[in-house]
């Protein structure tokens, strides 16, 4: 026969199903969150690496004036080079709808059969493309507005258009690998075409891109850098210009930075959810032990020692944990995969198949076994401390010695409030310990919710700050440098334009003291009095008209030369020429998500590149501020037409907001994750509230019976419980407004550090609190409804018989 003590555990488990469900659910929610997070983290980290490895990503990507087959063979024979391939990479504009054009990148690989670097995986259709066909990269296909089997219209440099048949869709995990951390998100749509079509697409038949994998340590950027340097020197000797060289470790997937950022934040939130659920466990167990005081007395009366009695409850908690585990392990595995599939597409990771993640299972087991025990320890130890006599008489000497708290006294003195409200108020505060725990749970839930929204806004604020660098409504790029005065005159005919600035621009390389290339950098030369950017300076100052070769650089530039200070001199190689520049300021831009950038004055850069009074880049402002993306696009269209009519070759006319729009995509992934977690926090919070209210109602059965006996109607009883729930909900709302401050700061900083590698801009929007207020009211009503109705349903006899 089963021992009575275990029989009691079993009876407690199934005897009060609501309570058991409450505890099990609150444990399960925490486990579920952790299970999902750990599964996602493990699989994404592993598959990102494996998948990326499998594509054999280039360690060095060089954009050159052209690499012949012979030269490629030479490169292949060089020290440190494992594999080398060349290809044609170019950009065209694709037609995405009525009068909508989008810049897209195209690649023509000379030998598709023998193409081993930056390989792609076929998702649909076929690969490689034959003549007149294009195979598109999957993640940006939506932007192009085409599907498999459709034709894609591209515009050639001459203005003529061609139609390409979309015959395949591929996943390209190296997409965005040649630009900064956020490269994937800001990457243009990508397509692969047949090399025999190059002429037909008005492209020179030269292979301008060189991709290389290195022999030796392909995880060592410094080493890869030195290999690249030798290749560059060799190419230079052969008369090839290298416009840019991008170095990338073999393991560095383009979205890895985002994944890290998301992981950190999610784990922080996951831990908070577990913490929340443990408060809930503490609360429920507190109530359980209070309810069972008499039973504890009996157990001790018949010989139970304190630890024996405590053990009974700890075993009960263990069983709760195990049941929760049985629920959460399969459920979190399923949910994790649903999320993974969504996420994999968003961050361009190729999933390597479904599998159980042992670490996620172990982690859940460990949490299920340990956390509830910890959460239950205090209530159990406290509850089992009671002496037999105190348990039976219901009198604890400490209690009778206690004065009424200040709160009770204050409440007692409240006048002018309606009597039922007073009763609800008094009930709310009666069990202070429980109230505090419920408040903590709900408050944290709310604070996390609000913080999530603030975090998103904080990132938006960052983007807004970033947008101050891109104030122009239209960015026009021309094929060749043109005289600024002429272009300005040409554009004055376009209605809606107030200002045109010609900017100088070049791609350069940052040269270290030892002569190696630290990074490639965009060198940008706005007019010194530009009105189309308002830089934010971290240190130093902006450019002055009297500056000689001065530059102001962004975070990534600064990182590429460790120890760089204001006033230091930096060597830049621009168009093959090395020149020295003095750093006068550090900019706050968007951290690692952008390339290295250096701003200097138009005059300096134009002089250096030999294009004085000329420009290829024009920044155009509309005559009305705050145009939308659509309005900007329309203006861009007008600008382009006008320029084309005037006989210029336009590379691109892009709406100013486009850059930000794309950066947003990456952040939306993160936001959806944050929302899922704050949803879980809300669930835990409401379970907590429902639990507290039903326990409160249970404890007051007698009182409710008396109320009914003296004529209180069902509605009165229901209203009393509802009001109590609302009071707790609103109180927690107020508190969460405050608690959200540090949590917002923490989350925003975590994300900012990871993505932008700088602390965040603190933002506290009203949206979070308002939304949460709505949620709290609904939650409070829903979670107090069940206890309220069961309270009203009690007959007087039942209630008075209850002990």
């Amino acid at each position: 026969m089963i021992r009575p003590r275990w029989q009691k555990v079993f009876a407690d488990l199934i005897g009060n199903k609501t309570r058991s469900l409450l505890v099990i659910l609150s444990i399960a929610v925490g486990l579920f969150a952790i299970g999902i997070l750990e599964t996602n983290h493990e699989i994404i980290t592993a598959d990102m690496l494996t998948g990326y490895h499998n594509t054999n990503p280039a360690n060095i990507t060089m954009q050159t004036s052209g690499i012949s087959d012979d030269l490629l063979d030479t490169v292949r024979g060089m020290d440190g080079v494992d594999q080398a391939e060349h290809l044609r990479s170019f950009s065209l504009r694709a037609h995405t709808g009525t009068s909508q054009w989008l810049q897209m990148d195209l690649m023509a690989i000379p030998d598709y059969d023998d193409f081993e670097i930056n390989t792609v995986s076929l998702m649909e259709g076929r690969f490689p493309p034959k003549r007149g066909e294009v195979v598109l990269e999957q993640s940006k296909m939506d932007d192009l507005n085409v599907a498999l089997g459709d034709t894609l219209e591209v515009e050639l440099p001459s203005g003529r258009s061609r139609e390409l048949l979309v015959v395949g869709v591929v996943q390209v995990q190296t997409l965005g690998a040649v630009s900064g951390g956020g490269g994937f998100f800001v990457a243009n749509p990508l397509g692969y075409v047949n090399p025999d079509d190059l002429g037909w697409l008005e492209q020179p038949n030269t292979n301008n891109r060189l991709v290389i994998t290195v022999l030796g340590d392909n995880e060592d950027e410094i080493y890869i850098q030195t290999v690249a340097q030798e290749i560059r020197d060799d190419l230079k000797a052969d008369g090839v210009t290298v416009n840019s060289a991008v170095i990338r470790k073999r393991s560095s997937h383009p979205t890895a930075v985002y994944v890290d950022a998301i992981s950190q934040v999610l784990f922080a939130l996951g831990a908070l959810v577990v913490l929340l659920s443990s408060f809930l466990i503490t609360n429920t167990l507190n109530a359980l032990l209070t309810q069972q005081t008499q039973q504890i007395g009996i157990l001790k009366l018949v010989g139970g020692r304190r630890w024996q009695v405590a053990l009974i409850y700890l075993v009960l908690i263990l069983v709760y944990g195990l049941v929760a585990l049985a629920i959460s392990i399969p459920l979190s595995a399923r949910a994790a995969y649903v999320l993974l599939e969504y996420l994999a597409g968003q961050i361009n990771v190729e999933l390597q198949g479904y599998r159980v993640v042992p670490a996620a299972v172990y982690l859940q087991i460990a949490i299920a076994v340990i956390v509830p025990q910890l959460a239950g320890l205090v209530p159990v130890l406290q509850g089992t401390r009671i002496r037999v006599q105190q348990a039976f008489s219901g009198i604890r000497e400490e209690d009778s010695l206690q004065q009424h708290g200040w709160l009770e006294q204050k409440l007692a003195r409240l006048r002018g409030l309606p009597r039922p409200l007073l009763i609800s108020l008094r009930n709310t505060f009666r069990r202070k310990g429980r109230l505090v725990l419920t408040l903590i749970t709900l408050t944290l839930g709310g604070a996390i919710f609000i913080a999530t929204i603030n975090t998103r806004s904080s990132v938006d604020a960052y983007l807004t700050q970033l947008s101050h660098y891109f104030l122009a409504d239209v960015n026009l790029s021309l094929e060749d440098p043109e005289r600024i005065a002429r272009v300005t005159k040409e554009l004055s005919a376009v209605p809606g334009i107030s200002l045109v600035e010609g900017w100088a621009g070049a791609t350069g390389e940052i040269i270290t003291a030892s002569g190696a290339v630290a990074d490639s950098a965009q060198v940008i030369g706005p007019p010194v009095d530009t009105q189309l950017m308002t830089p934010t300076l971290l240190e130093g100052r902006w450019l002055l008209p009297e500056d000689a070769r001065a530059i102001v650089v962004n975070e990534r530039f600064r990182d590429s030369l460790p120890g760089l200070q204001i006033g230091d001199s930096v060597t830049l190689r621009i168009n093959g020429k090395e020149t020295d520049w003095v750093v006068v300021g550090f900019l706050k831009m968007a951290g690692r998500s952008l390339d290295s950038m250096a701003y200097t004055s138009y005059d300096q850069l134009a002089h250096l590149t030999g294009s004085v009074r000329q420009a290829r880049l024009f920044r155009i402002a509309a005559d009305q501020p705050n145009r939308t993306l659509e309005e900007q696009s329309e203006l861009a269209r007008q600008v382009e037409l006008a320029m084309r009519d005037a006989g210029y070759t336009v590379t691109e006319a892009r709406a100013g907001l486009m850059v930000l729009d794309k950066t947003d995509d990456g952040l939306n992934v993160m936001t959806s994750f944050l929302l899922i977690l704050s949803g879980l926090a809300a669930v835990v919070g409401s379970i907590g509230l429902a639990g507290t209210l039903s326990i409160n109602v249970l404890e007051r059965m007698r009182e409710i019976g008396v109320m009914r006996a003296v004529g209180a109607s069902n509605r009165d009883v229901i209203r009393m419980v509802l009001v109590e729930g609302l009071i707790i909900g609103l109180l927690s709302w107020l508190l969460s407004l405050v608690v959200a401050v540090p949590i917002s700061k923490l989350l925003s900083d975590l994300i900012s550090m990871a993505i932008f590698s700088t602390t965040s801009i603190f933002v506290y929007t009203l949206n979070g609190p308002l939304l949460w207020l709505g949620v709290v009211i609904v939650l409070s009503v829903i979670s107090s409804l069940a206890p309220a109705i069961s309270a009203a349903r009690l007959t007087i006899r039942e209630v008075l018989a209850y002990e």
């Binding site: 009575p4 009691k8 009996i298 018949v302 010989g303 037999v388």
Partner: protein, 249 residues
């Protein structure tokens, strides 16, 4: 009826005078502390109980009877004095030791039965054996069934306490008190909630137990029961008094 396993073999009718002292109360005082000040529920009680006695503690409500019984069972702390049971000073033990000792050596019966509501009658009787380390797999169950049989409940052993009458519940409480075959039973108003017929049957069980060698200390405010006990201590306002009239005045 042979409820005892003959640990104390029946030696004909009890002879308190000559029998050894099994409970020795020495100047027992108990004060309850409250904001209003200390209240002395026991003002210095000295008394002895002999093996095989059926001792009554009788007094009016509030006299301190329950408090006194709690001092003997060790479920509450005393303020000063000493209680020796079987030569052991029970208030010198820590709470855990006292619980274990109590589980093995005392059976305690309350007016309100104090049964575990979610355990069957059988499980309730098994509980003391389980909690005080006296569990012997098959034998414990056999004994519990036997005890329930002896209090006339063999048909109900798998029922919950709520499914039986008050008198039956008190029988379960007695069976439970006997689970570890303790030499001493303490009963606090065991018939207080029962009608007179049922109360009588409980008293009969007690009388048989005493006849079987148990020592019973029973608290009651019902002086009519005094005649059925071998000796009575009269209690009034926390002190022992000599006569019924003093106690019940």
């Amino acid at each position: 009826m042979t409820i005892s396993r003959h640990r104390n073999p029946p030696e004909a009718p009890p002879t308190p005078a000559g029998a050894p002292v099994i409970i020795d109360l020495r100047e027992v005082k108990k004060a309850y502390h409250s904001p209003a000040g200390d209240f002395w529920a026991l003002k210095g009680i000295s008394a002895q109980v002999h093996t095989g006695e059926f001792l009554g503690i009788v007094g009016r409500s509030g006299a301190g009877k329950s408090t006194l019984l709690n001092m003997i069972s060790g479920v509450d702390s005393l303020t000063s004095g000493e209680v020796l049971v079987d030569g052991i000073s029970i208030h010198a033990m820590d709470e855990n030791q006292a619980a274990l000792w109590r589980g093995r050596n005392l059976g305690v019966i309350y007016q309100s039965f104090q049964l575990m509501p979610m355990l069957s009658l059988l499980q309730n009787v098994l509980l003391p054996m389980d909690m005080s380390g006296m569990w012997r797999n098959g034998r414990s169950v056999t004994r519990a069934r036997q005890l329930l049989d002896e209090v006339g409940l063999s048909d109900h052993i798998h029922k919950l306490p709520s499914a039986i009458s008050g008198g039956q519940q008190q029988r379960v409480a007695i069976a439970r008190a006997l689970a570890n075959d303790p030499p001493i039973l303490l009963a606090d108003e065991p018939t207080g909630r029962l009608d007179s017929g049922t109360a009588d049957s409980i008293m009969k069980i007690f009388e048989q137990l005493v006849a079987g060698g148990k020592t019973i200390v029973m608290v009651t405010h019902d002086q009519s029961l005094a005649s059925r006990m071998s000796r009575v201590l009269w209690l009034a306002d926390g002190s022992l008094v000599q006569t019924r009239t003093e106690a019940m005045a």
